[in-house]
């Protein structure tokens, strides 16, 4: 039996990264929407008919960075409990702390491996369709 597919929002200013994450998440059974910066991400999350089931968020973006995006999301009643994966090049522990303080559930270091991201995404949000991987 299948449920409706889960929705993921990928927020990253790099096209190569958005395409890559899109491919991984679609393979994991998600319907994917994209945004190029935190402000666009917030707009997409707010204007979607149903809020996304998963957020995948880059740190450094113009207009509104990943931390500011997460804080804004956590302040919106409609969005505040959506699981969020923050993805960054930054490796120091302090930055992971900052990610969790802003509201991330998980922090992954770039570049991510497809199997790792797929498993994390499914674990956090669950995929609707029956996938044999």
């Amino acid at each position: 039996m299948t449920e409706p597919a889960k929705r993921a929002l990928v927020v990253d200013d790099a096209t190569t990264v958005r395409m890559y994450h899109r491919g991984i998440l679609e393979g994991a059974g998600f319907v994917v929407e994209e945004a190029m910066n935190g402000m666009e991400g917030l707009e997409r999350a707010l204007s979607a008919a149903e809020p996304p089931d998963l957020l995948l968020v880059d740190v450094n973006m113009p207009r509104m960075d990943g931390y500011a995006f997460l804080r804004a999301v956590r302040a919106e009643p409609a969005l505040c409990s959506i699981p969020a994966v923050m993805i960054s090049t930054e490796r120091e522990v302090a930055d992971a702390d900052r990610a969790f303080e802003a509201g991330a559930n998980l922090f992954l270091v770039k570049p991510v491996r497809p199997d790792v991201l797929g498993r994390c995404a499914r674990a956090l949000a669950g995929a609707g369709r029956d996938i044999s991987t």
């Binding site: 790099a14 190569t16 990264v17 960075d65």
Partner: protein
Amino acid sequence: MALLKTSPNGDMPSAPVAAPRPAALLLATLHAGATAAERREAALELAAAPDAARDLSAAPDAARDLSAALGQETELSVREAIVTTLVVISTEEAASGLADFLMSDDPHLRNLAIEALREIGPVAGSQIERLLASSYPDVRIFAVNVLDAFFYRRAQDRERLHTLLQRDPDVNVGLAAVEALSQAGGPEDIPALRAFAARFPEHPFVGFAVDMVCLRVMPGDAR
């Protein structure tokens, strides 16, 4: 029909237009203005003078002063106004002050500085060499993010991207260069892209990104 009650035509109360304040006074207000609104107004007035770019670039301390103010400022609207003025000035001093913030611990300030340097354009190219020499991979990544806005205009910047692809030890620095080339690259960048992919076979994303960009920069009839 109910009428919209309006003030008589032309009776818009307007803010009295004050005499323009000298740059020195405006800079002082930026540092010590009591309210955010005062500081913001001072920053924007600096940019609004008809010869702002010329006058401010003739006062080399102005850019340094503005950068110092930016480093101290916590109010977002004032930060934006200071950046607007630095972008209007667009000198090497302005770019240098902004480039220092790429190392800031404050993500908002860091990203604002990247945006501003991109808007300044080729003049910011003067900063690229020292930024690319940084031992911090993130700073080198940000340098590529800035370069992306104007590398096509300067042959040495394209060369720099190729060098990063061929040699930089950090995979994310090369990936930033791949992204830059996805926007404005051409067939002449393919060899450097392939060299980068060969250096990092253990990262699936590298192969994906390079393949995607090589396909995009090939002219249609060359397939």
